[in-house]
Symmetry: C2
Subunit: 318 residues, 2 copies
């Protein structure tokens, strides 16, 4: 049996292989080739924590994956990361445990970044250059890193906004050390008005991005709304979008960025399509330079399966 | 972080500590002190396999436990055990992974055996001696081992019946080598008619044990009915029992040994009580030497939590 530490996993990451694997996972999920049972959940209200168990299998894959991901929100006060996790890979033909990836949440962060880059690359204008990143959490940096790699043929510029100037500076400094230049701004509205691409990565429970700020031709990838009550985009913006694309429609309509508009009867479920359908050509992506496109990514177990397989393939080759 | 192999786990088993821990877990569950979300499930029909994810937390415990247990029914044809599994212990205050118990299903087998011994000891007549064991699977031997240890102050005699004489001989031989004498018989009816205690451990989907065969004063512990469609006891026997005791009432009524009688309207849910209630005195157990008592054990995550904690406590002390 294989047991890999976070440090070992980090050395095994092949960006392009991961990008390809996660893209194929979206397609498999949209084509109904992924068995993804409901997410398991247990809460620890006294510790301000919870744990999600995501698991599933993609038809034909030799393994299935169980991911245990916890979030305990007082951890930073004792010097621990809020999130932690482990991925288990089991044989889909014998049920035997094949690998334990002690990734501490690293692979979830990575597959979320790869998913954002895939959606953004698929839906933005061909001439899109100016990227606005909203938020200063771990996904702000990862979305920039992944998009920078996934669209390295374009000369993207990145500008970062978040409520905390101090946190924004930390993210920008870290990226500068990796050779990725990131501007910062205190003016969210102007940033949104001038952006070609907007990536929102906050845990906002009130809309941060207003419809009036968004010019035609903009693409928005919204990462933050992964649980009921969260919303980053003004409802009117979701209604106004020409293309609404989700990683998993039932999640986006139930608790994602499209749920408020859907529950209010302002959009029909048929007006939303899945990212896998755009990637395999079953659904239309952006049709012209004027459309506003919104991708809502709530996170799906197929991404976890894909990234785990990619790491195990790299381990086998190494 | 602690990683223990099956061999290491086996050296850490303290029978009496495990028996106590599992008993306390039943009480905690019946008192509403255990958070036990619905069991996760994923099937692999092409491989004749499935995987259950059981998880939960007992109030006040420093850890919570996630158990992944798979059953792939073609495994024996390639020399592998049908069942395999792993237990994960995570901190209930920080969510960090604290231990991985690579028990390969051993701890599930053990906690099931301990649960059977607890139920049988709590509900049989004080003068019960003759134990009938039905089945030749792994639980047949484990139920005997655990009952032998848990009731070593009584001079129990064990008689084994199963459909396959060859398999019965294998179980009896293995126990003989451990110093536990086990008779065998080919006459199930006579065995049941003369037994004080009957323990059923089969995956039967048609009742094996008929009501007419059971004399007053008999206690029955039924282990096998852990999924819809399974039934070991004739429905009339369940109806006739003076005490119906379950490890978890909702499971026993939904798919356990009590479900057929309950669905037919032959017993009321109020006429069934939980083992934890018997153990803490909230519900009546056996009231006299004439009663027929039936314990239906479907398996609960609280047992997994308890046995995991017991192993980790032993590891810490060692």
């Amino acid at each position: 049996m294989i047991i890999l530490s976070r440090a070992e996993i980090e050395t095994l990451v092949d960006f392009d292989a991961g990008l390809h694997a996660v893209g194929q996972a979206y397609i498999a999920a949209s084509q109904g080739k992924a068995t993804i049972p409901p997410v398991g959940y247990i809460a620890f209200p006294q510790a301000d924590g919870d744990c999600h168990i995501k698991y599933g299998h993609i038809a034909g894959d030799p393994i299935f994956v169980v991911k245990i991901a916890s979030g305990f929100y007082r951890n930073p006060s004792i010097g621990l990361s809020t999130s932690s996790g482990v991925m288990l890979a089991l044989s889909a033909t014998t049920g035997q445990l094949e690998a334990i990836l002690l990734d501490e949440g690293f692979l979830t962060d990575l597959r979320t970044g790869l998913g954002g880059a895939i959606a953004t690359r698929a839906l933005c204008r061909p001439d899109a250059r100016r990227v606005a990143i909203i938020g200063s959490g771990i996904q702000a940096g990862i979305q920039i890193r992944c998009l920078h790699r996934a669209m390295k043929d374009r000369s993207l510029t990145f500008t970062l906004w978040a409520r905390s100037d101090a946190k924004v500076a930390v993210v920008a400094d870290a990226l500068a050390k990796e050779g990725i230049a990131v501007e910062t701004t205190g003016d969210l509205e102007s940033l949104c008005r001038s952006a070609d691409i907007i990536i929102t990565t906050t845990p906002a429970r009130e809309p941060l991005i207003l419809s009036d700020w968004i010019r035609s031709g903009t693409h928005i990838t919204a990462i933050g709304a992964d649980a009921p009550g969260k919303q980053e985009l003004e409802t009117q913006l979701v209604v106004r979008a020409d293309r609404r694309i989700s990683d998993r429609l039932e999640q986006s309509l139930a608790h994602g960025e499209f749920s408020t508009a859907f529950e209010a009867g302002l959009i029909a479920s048929e007006s939303c399509r899945e990212l896998g359908e755009v990637l395999d050509g079953t659904a239309k992506g952006r049709q012209n330079e004027h459309e506003i496109t919104v991708a809502d990514l709530t996170g799906i177990a197929a991404q976890d399966i894909a990234i785990t397989r990619a790491i195990l393939d790299a381990h086998r080759q190494a």
